[in-house]
């Protein structure tokens, strides 16, 4: 049996680095606890890395780009092409939004791969906040741009009336579960991947502790090494998927009923 010290979900613990105390409430219950947690620290670090990357890359603005500028331009072009091909030219006004989401999630996922680093996206509240922002953007912009015609998003075009009675409730359910699946996908992938990594790492420690079976510890160690690049791939892929789905949902707000 594993010791409590190598419990795989220990890595997701949030604690205060310093706190400003609790406001309101009677001390034991209620009130708002305001503190600067390790999660907040890593969000600030991620923001600093993204800002640093983009500012450093766009500082010289040479016609023939250097390495740094090339990387910045490639990341910009990548997202710009994505938005243009999925949400159309009209969706380009959402490029800063999608780009910010993509860069934040990408850097957060890659940060999480460093040992002892906190993975911001492994908490449902963070991914849910981003998914709900996307959902509200779609709903508000959809009504703002199309008025009540936005409700056509629930009515698939070119379907016989008899089938609509069945399809419209399904479309309504699938529309309102979008923020749920959007946030759970990122959260679940990152959480699951990190737990699997730590479970195999815990097996190494447990096998070494047995003494006689210690040489067998090479097997879970090899598994950990093999899983690390897979988790890097998952991190990049999930950031991309989050951006793609944001574009697909925005496309619904721009052209409902397609």
């Amino acid at each position: 049996m594993a010791e409590p010290a190598i419990e795989p979900i220990h890595q997701f613990r949030i604690y205060d680095l310093f706190n400003f105390g609790t406001f309101g409430g009677d001390g034991a219950t209620g009130g708002i606890h305001i503190g600067f947690t390790n999660s907040a620290l890593f969000m600030v670090l991620i923001l600093a890395v993204v800002l640093g990357f983009l500012l450093l890359g766009s500082r010289r603005r040479a016609i023939v780009p250097g390495r740094m500028q090339l990387m910045t331009e490639m990341s910009y072009e990548f997202i710009a092409n994505l938005v243009r091909s999925t949400a159309g030219t009209e969706g380009m006004k959402f490029l800063p939004f999608v780009f910010a989401l993509f860069m934040f999630i990408l850097v957060a996922n890659l940060f999480g791969m460093f040992p002892y680093f906190f993975t911001v996206t492994s908490h449902l509240i963070v991914t849910a906040a981003m998914a709900v922002t996307v959902f509200l953007t779609v709903v508000i912009y959809g009504f703002y741009r199309n008025g009540l015609k936005f409700l056509k998003v629930f009515v698939p075009s070119g379907v016989p009336f008899a089938l609509l009675i069945l399809l419209v409730p399904i479309e309504i359910i699938s529309f309102f579960t979008r923020p749920l699946s959007h946030s759970l996908r990122l959260f679940g992938n990152i959480l699951g991947g990190h737990i699997v990594l730590k479970v195999f790492a815990g097996m190494v420690v447990a096998l070494i502790a047995t003494g006689a079976w210690a040489p067998l510890g090479v097997l879970p160690l090899a598994m950990t090494v093999a899983l690390t690049p897979l988790e890097l791939l998952v991190g990049v892929l999930q950031a991309f998927v989050f951006a793609v789905l944001t574009c697909v949902y925005l496309q619904d707000a721009i052209h409902p009923g397609h």
Binding site: N189, G192, V241, L245
Partner: protein, 79 residues
């Protein structure tokens, strides 16, 4: 059987059953990538343009497996 043991027994069995759902997601993801590969081998010129659609389909399918993983984790660590 005392209630605490019954609780943890049900919890562990439930988490195990929840993981069966991931098999369905595995089949789905396999079908998506297999179909993409066979389509890409028939018409390699059109493959690159469908890569985004491949990833969207993959993400939508994989989410269902993640849901069952989530149920298993909830049973193990929260209930």
């Amino acid at each position: 059987m005392d209630p605490i043991a019954a609780h943890s027994l049900g919890k562990l069995i439930g988490a195990g059953i929840a993981c069966v759902g991931m098999g369905g997601a595995g089949i789905g993801v396999g079908v998506i990538f297999g179909q993409y590969l066979s389509g890409a081998l028939r018409n390699p010129a059109a493959a690159a343009s469908q890569f985004t659609n491949l990833l969207i389909g993959f993400a939508l399918t994989e989410a269902l497996g993640i849901f069952s993983l989530l149920i298993a984790l909830l049973l193990l660590f929260v209930v």
